[in-house]
Subunit: 437 residues, 2 copies
């Protein structure tokens, strides 16, 4: 299938903050899964049309914004089935009395249903790729493939679960191989849940498969002091020595890091996936994103799971990434709007090891594109500068079209492969059934 | 006009956190501008219907949430015309080089157009009342009356503007008198922009009209130290001695307050209107809402103006009120969801001096009600507990119906008196014109 997105306001995210070409009116031509034209030249557009013949879907994007889809770099998408199941509870009570007991009941099919729900929410809100971590990731991989979204799945392990993990990983890899939109990493849960033995096994497996690593780092305040009291050094220093960061690594959260740790993470090209709303809701604190970035660390954005957020809306987490840093540093210039947009797109592509392939609109890149309406009340008055509008007032419900890998998955704000009503009803019914087990 | 809202999930906001009747299935009957029935009793509902005869609009609210509309207790609604006009700039540069110069060009008619835009956004998002502060408030009063929203208008003054203010106040009062949904307060801009002389004049005027007072207090970090170095005491202490708080008072922001100031504000029943997103965006900091509340202060929620937020979405500011306190205090129990809902409704009613009249659904109260859809993807799985869903994942675009004073102003997510397209186009055109003056 070929697509021509005509006359939109194209925001390619390839430019620097000071560029006068951050956005411009143009048409975007897609052949198969790739962008092959970004142009306002009539002849070029005509010749693209001709080359497509009858196999061409034309989308009129006049007055709409055409930009790369968001890349959600830390979530547990299947936990959408537990959205609202337990809130406003102390963290340890939340985990031990509410979340872990019900998670213990989940089957791969439950994980599939939860993932289907979360993926639908992401696609409708303009997220085109996500980096996931959970158990039964093979079920998430299946849901991802059936939905059409791009996904990197990370089966996780911790002490006592290495065998379950290896089985999940093998299945996940088998499924990922069948589809170009899915890939995998491996996920040691966190430094405090993995002994050195467990971590070494994980690193060995990652090296064997040459896979990336996705783990939780310094999410809560007490983790690092406790780790230091046991090991004599911080998780970052210790894991670096063990060789964890020799693989491509994404560390979720990074709320409580020392300057020394930041230097190591920068040097090792570790991405920090920042989850501002989850960090607040679970009372973890505020990550020092401005400082992380000034150390040269790539910071991307994640929503975390819907049991701790409670929605998978990248617009809100992008907005909060900017607002929180201004509030935290008392500097109104902290994380300006365009920087936040870059973190949610280009920064996400780096996190996934796909820099230059996704998160941007340019000839040769994969066609992961969203088209955003500007006709809702909170966009007016329409400004020449669309960046502020996108970051400071836009909503997930403004997303008109979501295209992944050249396939239109959302059009006119509706899923094309299935219906919200069906997915929602299925999830509601399934949660009831799980609770009654 | 009489209205029967049938079979909704009614969240009256009259109950305490531990009540088992926080919400229940019921029908709500409205006669004129008042709620006269909240019941699930078939006979009572039938007899309500009979008493209305043919003059009855029935709204089927099955599966939807029926709750009081939000009360936005601090905004400059006309500034919606400046949304996105200037962002990511140092505060003093933002004010002196961007906002003040363009504000200086605004006519009462521009203020009307801006207010019309902001009010439309609020109604669509489920806000039924607002407390405003600006110049040319008589134009905002007109826009409010034409839209049907409930509003308390506060013409503002500062040194050198008392005469302009008195003229605006007189006009605003004249307009407010014509409509039961509008009222007024007077607004000394802030302690640092009003000399003692100016403040005394304001207090004298407030006493003369027996009006409430609405002002900015302790928004930015340096205000109080600078004030103390000039006056030898904090603004709160000084203004209290001057008798400012002897009138009903709403203080916007309250980001940087000492414990002594909090005690005074509590004793004097001053409401703090908390503006979490504006405080972050303008790099003012994080207000200590949990601490304010533990001192016994009524804390309500505001969006501030759209030039510093950049939307007037009470759902987002309510969500942030809860999330920020958890992040700030590292206590996941800080400002639980139901408390945040109370602040946005009951707390707002107290701020407006209308406790028991609005912000709740009960027989005898004014019919300021919203009906919220649960059919969007971020609500699933549907839980028995709707509170989390409302606070942690709901969006302004979930609002189906907005009723103010017994009049339906939004139905099926659309304004009934006008169209978003028209209001938006008018605002876009007007801003261009203002810029070219």
């Amino acid at each position: 299938m070929n697509i021509l997105i005509e006359n939109g306001i194209v925001l390619p995210m390839t430019e620097s903050e000071n560029s006068a070409r951050k956005y411009f009116i143009a048409s975007v031509g897609i052949k198969g899964n790739k962008i092959i034209l970004v142009s306002s030249n009539k002849d070029e557009i005509s010749s693209f049309k001709e080359s497509c013949g009858e196999d061409l879907e034309i989308i009129d994007a006049k007055g709409k914004i055409v930009m790369p889809g968001f890349i959600n770099t830390h979530t547990h998408v299947a936990m959408s089935i537990l959205r609202g199941y337990s809130d406003d509870v102390e963290l340890m009570e939340w985990l031990t009395k509410h979340i872990w007991p019900i998670e213990g009941k989940l089957t791969p099919d439950d994980v599939y249903v939860g993932a289907e729900l979360g993926i639908a929410e992401m696609l409708l809100g303009g997220t085109t790729s996500f980096l996931d971590m959970y158990h039964f990731e093979h079920a998430v991989a299946k849901a991802a493939i059936n939905s059409g979204i791009r996904a990197v799945l990370s089966p996780f392990f911790l002490d006592g679960r290495i065998e379950l993990f290896e089985d999940d990983l093998a299945r996940t890899i088998d499924i990922c191989k069948t589809n170009s939109r899915t890939d995998y990493m491996i996920a040691p849960h966190a430094p405090y849940t993995c002994s050195d033995d467990t971590m070494e096994k994980g690193i060995e497996i990652a090296k064997r498969y040459n896979s990336g690593i996705h783990f939780h780092l310094a999410e809560t305040r007490n983790e690092t002091p406790e780790y230091i009291s046991r090991k004599g050094e911080s998780p970052t220093v210790h894991l670096c020595k063990m060789g964890l960061f020799d693989q491509h690594t994404v560390a979720a959260h990074g709320v409580h890091l020392t300057e020394e740790e930041m230097d190591i993470l920068a040097e090792k090209h570790v991405t920090i996936a920042h989850n501002p709303r989850s960090n607040m809701k679970l009372a973890s604190g505020f990550a020092e994103v401005s400082k992380l970035m000034s150390h040269g660390i790539n910071v991307s954005i994640g929503t975390d799971g819907a049991a701790s957020n409670n929605n998978l809306d990248m617009w809100e987490d992008m907005r909060l990434t900017s607002l929180l840093q201004k509030g935290l540093t008392l500097d109104p210039l902290a994380v300006p709007a365009y920087t936040a947009l870059k973190m949610a797109t280009v920064g996400g592509a780096k996190a996934l090891g796909m820099e230059g392939k996704i998160g941007i609109i340019k000839e040769g890149a994969l066609a992961d594109i969203i088209i955003v309406n500007q006709n809702n009340i909170h966009h007016f008055p329409l400004q020449k500068n669309i960046i502020s509008s996108l970051v400071y007032s836009c909503k997930s419900t403004d997303v008109n079209t979501t295209i992944v890998d050249g396939e239109i998955l959302v059009q006119d704000g509706k899923l094309l492969k299935t219906e919200t009503k069906e997915i929602g009803a299925k999830a509601t019914e399934r949660l009831l059934e799980i609770c009654n087990r």
